[in-house]
């Protein structure tokens, strides 16, 4: 009846997952109770769960990403402390099979459920605003994408309480991940969680390629788009190109595991190396899917806070697209040691080194953007400067690893671990925090606390280096990754240093939380009434903070690069805004619950496939199909916002802008 699912799936004998799960369940019940007591269900359902507004969906992606970032960070703290405690005669506090689940969950969660949702969240929130349009190409599909991602995240978290998670690392290499060697449900949790959220991501990619290429306001030609839009496009193109590979590879592994097929088995003509090639043909572009939008965020920040247009805009576009293409030609460097031979290794070593050229162009462009500008040392700017320093060093260790003979020496060592954290934390995570501080006032209408923001930056920056320099060192000494126990006592002090770094990072995370709490408490003082708190240059700053759900009363007419900057300068010069447009009714998509229901049925189906409850899986698929038909049958797709409502919102915006005009005009006259 319930497949492989029995009471023994609940880890009653393991205190750590049991207590974590109970706390987690209590927190969830507490939140649900609070929502019920306050009577927020109706509001949540109408304004958020069924919302197809790209800004709301972006914020929900952000929330999901932050929650999972905390979960992944907790895993990281456990890994670093276990290694520091389990040196020589000491055993630490985590059993091997539990430790293996933790490092697998850490990588999986951080990449798929923390970094991806946060990056996609920014793409969602910012891109349509910067393009001067009212929504993405397929708003309802966007909601489906989000909820599928949430469904995958839910499955990963269920594995904590029901069954187990994979012990195979964040990429389940066969033959270890085949049913012969991993008979439990851990790998199945991995496979179905990633399969479901991967489909959501693929649809996001399709949505954003179409949005950037087909939905731009009048005059917004390609070479007038803000840099972040270009990186959204490049990242989405990569998603469309490589996420099907992920789906295919995971489907093949599932077929091996469930039906005993022979794609990747080590017997009967299966080919484990085929898995390495396929998964990294997705996996390497994946890091650029994450880091390209991060580069976009930095481009916006450097330009805004240097008070200058982005230096070398066109070379930046070229470098982005160069990286987008070369990203798909470097995958083999993840397994130089697996016997491809010198000729193949050399080719991939060269392509890997070449991709650093595109990144180098970008680094110089950012530095020259600051040159001669009036640089303001705000929190986003600190993260960006910290990024340049960190990422250049991470890039250099990367180029070192790109040389096959050098790679043979440190392959699969802590050096590698330090390298990829150096680029992903220094590149992506720093960008996410920069973007959070930069666009927070646009999303929520008030600024974040500057002092706590700076404290968070410095703690994270110092903590990062204290954590990872010892790991580089250990890698050079020969320590391999994923060790549950460390035999060599001389490595102990370096592991202690690394743990001390983690303590600083925990303090940094605490500073972020305090920053949010303090800012929310002081929100009335911190209000951004202007809509343009940073003296910005792109169109999102032309809207009020937060923007109305229809974004723009009238689509802007763009006359050159830096669309909003041009409008602003003209207004400042003439001391008056452009004439009031003739307001018209605006057509907006209606809310839809199809995303929520699809994700519900996807979760049910995924859970039943993991536990081999076939009838329930069939029922889940049927439910999803019925949901789709029901959705297809609806008659009303859009509603009209009356011209008066549009006019009222826009006149308020214009009043705020006029006030700003006086303020800035007076400042200019005084200086």
């Amino acid at each position: 009846m319930f497949g492989k699912l029995t009471w023994s799936a609940i880890p009653f004998d393991q205190p750590i997952p049991l207590i974590t799960s109970i706390v987690l369940i209590l927190v969830i019940l507490g939140v649900l109770a609070l929502v019920t007591v306050r009577g927020w269900w109706g509001m949540l359902w109408r304004e958020w769960i069924t919302s197809v507004d790209h800004k709301r969906i972006g914020i929900m992606y952000g929330l999901l990403g932050v929650v999972m970032l905390v979960r992944g960070f907790a895993d990281a703290v456990m890994m670093r402390s276990q290694q520091a405690f389990a040196v020589g005669a000491h055993r630490g506090y985590l059993a091997p099979e539990h430790y293996d689940q933790i490092f697998s969950a850490h990588g999986t969660i951080m990449i798929f459920f923390a970094a991806m949702p946060l990056v996609i969240g920014f793409m969602n929130f910012v891109t349509p605003l910067q393009l001067g349009v009212r929504d993405v190409a397929f708003p309802t599909l966007n909601s489906v994408s989000f909820w599928l991602t949430a469904s995958g995240a839910l499955l990963v978290n269920i594995s904590l309480f029901v069954g187990e998670f994979a012990r195979t690392g964040w990429l389940p290499y066969p033959p270890l991940s085949e049913s012969a060697y991993s008979p439990g449900v851990g790998v199945d949790y991995y496979l179905w969680a990633i399969q479901i959220s991967g489909i959501g991501t693929l649809m996001t990619g399709i949505n954003f390629v179409t949005t950037v290429l087909k939905l731009r306001c009048p005059g917004m030609s390609y070479l007038r788009m803000p840099m972040f839009c270009w990186t959204t496009l490049a990242s989405s193109l990569l998603i469309v190109a490589v996420f099907p590979i992920l789906s295919a590879t995971l489907a093949m592994l599932s077929l091996d595991r469930v039906f005993g097929w022979h794609y990747f088995t080590s017997d009967a003509g299966g080919n484990p190396m085929m898995f390495m090639n396929l998964i990294w043909a997705w996996g390497h572009p994946e890091v650029y899917i994450l880091v390209l939008p991060a580069f976009g965020i930095f481009s916006e920040v450097f330009s805004t806070f240097s008070g200058k247009p982005l230096f070398g805009y066109r070379s930046m576009v070229a470098a982005t697209l160069f990286i987008c293409i070369v990203a798909m030609m470097t995958w083999l460097h993840h397994f130089f040691t697996m016997g491809s031979g010198p000729a193949v290794n050399t080719a991939f070593g060269i392509s890997t080194s070449v991709i650093a050229v595109g990144t180098g162009v970008k680094i110089y462009n950012w530095i020259f953007t600051m040159y001669g500008g009036r640089v303001r040392m705000t929190v986003p700017m600190l993260w960006s400067l910290g990024f340049i320093f960190t990422f250049v060093i991470g890039g250099m260790t990367g180029v070192l690893l790109a040389v096959p003979p050098a790679d043979f020496l440190v392959h699969n060592s802590m050096f590698l671990v330090a390298h990829f954290h150096n680029v992903i934390v220094g590149g992506v995570v720093f960008a996410l925090f920069a973007g959070l501080d930069y666009w927070f006032p646009k999303a929520f209408g008030f600024r974040l606390h500057e002092g706590w923001g700076k404290a968070a930056f410095w703690l994270a920056f110092i903590g990062f280096w204290v954590t990872f320099v010892p790991l580089y060192w250990l890698g050079m000494l020969g320590m391999t990754r994923r060790l549950q126990h460390v035999w060599i006592p001389e490595w102990g002090p370096l592991l202690d240093w690394s743990l001390a770094g983690v303590a600083i990072l925990v303090a940094g995370a605490a500073a972020q939380v305090i920053m949010l709490v303090v800012s929310i408490r002081q929100r009335d003082r911190r209000r951004d009434t202007t809509g343009d708190p940073w003296d910005g240059r792109s169109l999102e700053w032309a809207t009020p903070s937060p923007p109305p759900f229809f974004n723009f009363a009238q689509l802007p007419d763009v006359e050159g690069e830096e669309a909003y900057w041009t409008i602003k300068l003209r207004a400042l010069e003439s001391q008056r805004l452009d004439p009031e447009p003739h307001y018209q009714a605006v057509e907006m998509p209606v809310n839809s619950a199809v995303g929520f229901f699809t994700a519900f049925f996807a979760t049910v189906t995924g859970f039943s496939l993991i536990w081999h409850i076939w009838w329930l899986a069939g029922l889940g698929l049927l439910g999803a199909f019925v949901g789709f038909v029901f959705f297809a049958w609806r008659d009303v797709h859009e509603f009209h916002v009356p011209a008066e409502e549009v006019a009222r919102a826009d006149r308020a915006r214009r009043a705020a802008r006029t006030a700003l005009l006086g303020e800035r005009g007076a400042e200019a006259a005084a200086s």
Binding site: M220, V240, G260, Y263, A268, G270, V629, H637
Partner: protein, 230 residues
């Protein structure tokens, strides 16, 4: 004056009315036509956005198939002492399958022409014909698989058979799901008529159905023809 004067100009105007974006009739370059989403003339019309997005989806689907083609190429000779491709190919059956699928695509194209002429009867007749031919294809393929299984030729036997059943089966699954979609389209056309969103969906369905043909041509050539001659 009657409508006989200036026939070419009138015809052009009529066509523009039906195809405001003049798809496929414009020179590339600077000309900005509202609603195409090109050249900074503002957001594209829904018709173009939907079609464009679906093309992007199809490209991703083609990549999905490419992975299964690649595994087939890698595992072709990994027979583990079991049967080779030569033992599997039943050329008359594959020819019949191909014929059914191509005719199905032809019927699908005709149904789209009928839909463009807003002829409900012929649209439905041809859509049903499309579906029946697709069903014939799936039935023949299933029969093939069952027959093979009866001779002990199953995916569990070898890496080669895994890749074979995976690739051909994935295409069969696509045709099956396409058939389910087709059934809902027939119902939508029947009860909702030729509303714009139904027309958009018909466009997408046509693209999907033809794309499956193209994939099948690849399977027919690479799996069956090359396998029979190997």
């Amino acid at each position: 004056m009657s409508g006989d004067a200036l026939p070419a100009a009138r015809e052009t105007l009529r066509r523009r009315g039906e195809d405001p974006h003049r798809l496929g009739h414009r020179a590339h370059g600077r000309e900005a036509v509202a609603g195409t989403g090109r050249g900074g003339s503002g957001p594209a019309s829904k018709r173009i956005v939907v079609g464009y997005g679906f093309w992007i989806f199809l490209l991703s689907d083609v990549i999905l198939f490419a992975c299964f083609f690649a595994t087939f190429a890698v595992q072709r000779d990994a027979t583990a002492g079991g049967p080779t491709m030569r033992a599997l190919v039943d050329m008359p059956r594959v020819a019949a399958e191909t014929g059914a699928l191509l005719l199905s695509s032809y019927a699908c194209g005709l149904s789209y022409a009928a839909a463009n002429a807003r002829n409900k009867l012929w649209t439905q007749v041809l859509l049903v014909l499309t579906g029946l031919l697709g069903l014939a294809f799936v039935a023949m393929e299933l029969q093939e698989f069952v027959g093979l299984a009866g001779r002990g030729i199953v995916p569990q036997r070898s890496g080669f058979l895994t890749a074979f059943f995976g690739l051909v089966g994935l295409h069969g699954l696509h045709v099956t799901l396409g058939g389910v979609w087709l059934a809902t389209m027939v119902a939508q056309v029947q009860f909702k008529g030729f509303r714009p969103e139904i027309m958009h969906r018909l466009t997408c369905f046509n693209l999907f159905w033809h794309a499956l043909d193209i994939v099948w041509i690849g399977i027919f050539s690479i799996v069956y023809l090359m396998g029979a001659s190997a």
